[in-house]
């Protein structure tokens, strides 16, 4: 009786294994092809839709909103292509930060330090009124563009 059960179990498991391998074959092919297709699609999207830097003379506005919500507006003329470079050229705007995993990370602006680990505060970047999707180092600037560095705290306290 014991032997029959074992044999049956073995046979059952073997047929299951065969079934799995067959299903695995087709499923694997589809999964690999899908992954490859998505990689290609993502690369095309990233290349096509990432904002491109503009060369030449540009007039930009940079607004600094400090920890008391006070705005200081800087008008600036620049040949720089990315925001970090342009901000560094502005007199009266002192920027400090560190090279992080995702590029340049702003820690201090005009002596005001934001530290997320202390009070969930950080320096946010706004581009034409919208929350920026790029770091300051990789944010391309455009003529008549409006940029803002805003001291923010996460709503959670």
């Amino acid at each position: 009786m014991k032997e029959t059960v074992t044999e049956e179990t073995v046979t059952e498991e073997r047929s299951k294994a065969v079934e799995n391998t067959q299903k695995g074959g087709k499923g694997t092919l589809i999964a690999v092809l899908a992954a490859a297709a998505v990689v290609v699609l993502l690369i095309i999207l990233a290349v096509m839709f990432s904002p491109k830097p503009q060369s030449g003379d540009k007039n930009i506005t940079v607004t600094l909103t400090d920890n008391n919500g006070v705005d200081t507006v800087y008008e600036h003329n620049t040949d720089a292509e990315y925001l970090l470079e342009a901000v560094r050229e502005i007199e009266g705007l002192e920027l400090q930060g560190e090279e992080g995993e995702y590029g340049f990370f702003i820690t201090t602006v005009n002596g005001i330090t934001a530290d997320y680990s202390v009070d969930q505060s950080y320096w946010a970047i706004y581009v034409n009124g919208e929350y920026g999707s790029y770091g300051i180092e990789s944010q391309p600037i455009e003529d008549e563009g409006e940029y803002a560095l805003v001291y923010e705290r996460s709503s959670y306290e």
């Binding site: 999964a31 690999v32 992954a35 999207l45 929350y131 959670y156």
Partner: protein, 174 residues
């Protein structure tokens, strides 16, 4: 209280062993997340959830829910908390759906795909908070990170799938 239908059903469904396994799953998810948190776009949570769902079945969904709850307790509740609410259960559900698959290539491709789509799935929240334009811009900006995420998921699965599956299967069949 003893005759309550819920109690009966629960008693049948979950044993002490199940509870211990759930605890281990949540601990592994938390520890795994914390251990690799310093490496950007490299994480082992995807791998663990796939393995739990594919081998332990629907039980893993409870582990995922507890994991998300622990995350909510540990970290400030933020936008990504909302993302977690659907991203990890969706991963567990999909992995459960494909549980019959046993090819390392299938799971490597699957986990890569999930990494590639991660930003896109997260961006859904931004559609509701900041509008479709911001969501798309945010997604596009993050594509390089999604690519790293997908490739690292793939490598982790390729290296760990066979040994971990063997161990999980061994203990699950006992």
């Amino acid at each position: 209280m003893k005759d309550h239908p819920m109690n009966k059903a629960d008693a049948k469904k979950y044993t002490t062993r199940d509870l211990a396994e759930l605890g281990m799953m949540v601990a592994a998810l938390e520890a795994g997340k914390l251990a690799l948190s310093s490496l950007p776009n490299v994480e082992i949570v995807t791998f663990l959830i796939i393995m739990f769902a594919a081998i332990y079945g629907l039980k893993s969904m409870i582990a995922v829910v507890v994991f998300i709850s622990v995350e909510c307790l540990l970290w400030p509740v933020n936008l990504w908390t909302i993302m977690y609410l659907y991203i990890w259960p969706l991963l567990a559900a999909l992995s459960y759906l494909f549980r019959k698959q046993s090819s390392v290539w299938f799971w490597s491709a699957f986990s890569a795909l999930y990494g590639f789509c991660f930003g896109g799935l997260c961006a859904i929240v931004y559609i509701f908070t900041s509008g479709i334009q911001t969501a798309v811009a945010w997604w596009i900006a993050g594509i390089p990170f999604d690519l790293i995420h997908g490739f690292s998921n793939c490598v982790i699965m390729m290296v760990l799938y066979r040994p971990i599956r063997k161990v999980f299967k061994y203990y699950n069949s006992k």
